[in-house]
Symmetry: C2
Subunit: 126 residues, 2 copies
DNA sequence: CTGCATGCAAAAACTTTGCACCGCC
DNA sequence: GGCGGTGCAAAGTTTTTGCATGCAG
């Protein structure tokens, strides 16, 4: 059975309040303001636990450290090639792609991971 | 200017002949049969070069080491949660998703990365 | 009390890099 | 011969893990 932990709670709350998809290191540095003794190991352990429990989402962006998202509603991400930021995209009508993918495939498709890349609004303006 | 290198050629040919999307380590172990003195560093350097030149494709599968694909034709991948194998999927009609993604977004979408996951035919049978 | 969670540090896993030497052009 | 490529090893980056101690149930 799992026990309550203030550290885990703090990590979860921190992620719920952010929308910039921070990496473990960033989370660590921020949580440390509330728990000066917390260790990076604990942050990683709790991020793994929370994402297994489905309370947060782990997102791989192709290079660099993994990012974490407190928003577990289905949505997609956009990665700016220019500044590296990770933005949320609200895309509708993409549920069918699993079916599309399964059409000439004998295995069982459960789902997919996808992200888009390009130049974000801020970098386009610059 | 870039020079010819037998090692790079061998890596490229090796990838062209495989369809299982090997990791750098696997490529290294195999190329070593032809070039017993080749180093892992050289393998990584050439994989980076080849993928920058667009002669091979680097594919991130969410966890573990990066995989490499000698097939540069546009196609998608399927990752088996059971055995970890990476299979090719021939999916048609997914080009529109970049447009879909750009509909409520002010940045510029260049493209996307996506992979599907589930249970592969071999693991379903088992 | 019992056992999961933590802090700390060491280690693992993966990839990159500095440097002297080698070999393509 | 000049310069990019290689081999080797060291180091960098990100993540995991062992262990003694702490704290929730």
């Amino acid at each position: 059975m799992q026990k309550y932990s203030r550290q885990r709670e703090a990590i979860k709350n921190f992620l719920a309040a952010r929308h910039d998809h921070p990496a473990a290191e960033t989370i660590y540095l921020n949580i440390r303001e509330e728990f000066p003794n917390i260790s990076l190991g604990t942050v990683y352990r709790n991020l793994a636990l929370l994402s297994e429990m489905g309370e947060i989402r782990k997102i791989s962006i192709g290079s660099g450290p993994e990012r974490y998202d407190g928003n577990i509603q289905p949505h997609y991400h956009f990665i700016c090639k220019c500044c590296g930021s990770v933005l949320d995209l609200g895309i509708r009508g993409m549920d069918h792609i699993d079916i599309l993918a399964g059409q000439n495939f004998d295995g069982e498709i459960e789902g997919h991971n996808a992200y888009f890349y390009g130049t974000c609004p801020a970098c386009v303006a610059r």
